[in-house]
Symmetry: C2
Subunit: 305 residues, 2 copies
Amino acid sequence: MEKIFVFGHKSPDTDSICSSIVMADLQRKTGEEDVIPCRLGEMNEETKYVLKHFQVEAPMLLEKVEEGQTVIMVDHNEFTQTVDGIENAKIITVVDHHRINNFKTAEPLFYYAQPVGCTATLLLELYTLNHVEIEPKMAGLMLSAIISDTLLLKSPTTTEKDKKAVEQLAKIANIDINTYGLEMLKAGTDLDKYTEEELIRLDAKKIEKEDVKYVIAQVNTVSIPDVLKRKAKIEQEINKEILSKGLSLFVFVITDIINSNSEAIVLGDRTDAISKTYEIKDNIAVMPGVVSRKKQILPLVENNI
Amino acid sequence: MEKIFVFGHKSPDTDSICSSIVMADLQRKTGEEDVIPCRLGEMNEETKYVLKHFQVEAPMLLEKVEEGQTVIMVDHNEFTQTVDGIENAKIITVVDHHRINNFKTAEPLFYYAQPVGCTATLLLELYTLNHVEIEPKMAGLMLSAIISDTLLLKSPTTTEKDKKAVEQLAKIANIDINTYGLEMLKAGTDLDKYTEEELIRLDAKKIEKEDVKYVIAQVNTVSIPDVLKRKAKIEQEINKEILSKGLSLFVFVITDIINSNSEAIVLGDRTDAISKTYEIKDNIAVMPGVVSRKKQILPLVENNI
């Protein structure tokens, strides 16, 4: 039987990793035998905490795909965020909750997207549609993905469907979501172990609009000042990245998960895309109430670039 | 309440027209009030037969959309095949069964696609998912769309889901599919009333790959020689179209719906995309067993251009 790789985006977050594992599980239970969950990069501390908690193995590291390789994409669709070689792969399925950007295939495919807070919320629907029973471990992974993407249902990306999914999954996984959720999110805020180079790549989305390339990266913390102690070195790394990748803009968003605020380090030729809305002082934009890259920062940049 | 336009592709076929009407019905029944089914061009004779048979009004003709207009696309996603102004519209939903090609939105959306024979097969699933009862008229329209797209379930694009959908819908609409289906298809083969200029645009898909623009048009008939009597004039119109639109290739596929064969008039600088597989003599390629543009002709051209 044909081997199928399932993966989320580069700089994988908890949704990308968990949804790959869960989607592979669902595929196997609906008849596909050789489905391999993969990751396109190092896992962050939050995700490691999740996999350890539910005693689930990490997905295989995938660096590129060969021509004609059959793949399933979860939690992303943009080619700038995916595995090398995607142009010549055979994409049979996408399950995602992002906007679609210059996605293309040669053949018709299964594509399921909804404007919800997390890919895992849609995977839960697919289990239901296919009448497949959900194991507690898989419920735990989906639950973790939703908590991660919605910052414990507090992000403006959160929908009724996500809330209902969390409720249903918490029962199956037998988890108290507030206790577990906060512990899990806090595990992801231990940024000390990363070099600045790693920090700016930890959860970085590269976007191209016409000829303008830019990156919006995001880290979670319980103390923004703690992260900003490393500002000089972070800026140095960002400037290196701007030069080597030919970027017009790099937005490094530091999100306080307790108080639901962000501050961003903004560098590049096109800082105007941010400064039209938020004052930038000493390369820093203070963004009260901002926690969602997708819903709050990306549209802002897109409209101004 | 916000007005929402629903439409299929330009050069609308029966699936594009019926799915617009049916999708509007489904949207209304799930809470959206002001949903307007639209068409992006003249309806063909087959579609007129269907609407007359089920006594359903024709959708409104839509020539372009204003900036910010909320829209739902059915039966297509490629911007080259859709309404003028789409780049600045707000696409909230797509239901489709084609490959995805350079589709993009600024925001997350509901996107539902599967590699099945017809959009209406997916709409039937959405009725079921939303627990909405299907009226006989709507069942008749969906049934007609599937019969049209799959040439009475004989095209290689036909899947098990399409077959099951037809069975279910025939019961609701109380229709004998073979009798009705053949009559409906035959109604679409009366090509005498079209000028050659109309004929080549009746069901034409314009495709761009990198900088190469090409068109694959298709007509159904019960007699290929009857259509080829007009070959000289058809070629004249195709050559005009090639010049005015800057096309590299125009493939005009004439499909015999009784015997499931096609012959194509092939013109342009890049006829090699066809001649690598089918011998072209006097601008004509004979294609035994070929009835599906999507599954049999498009991949061929895409691979060779």
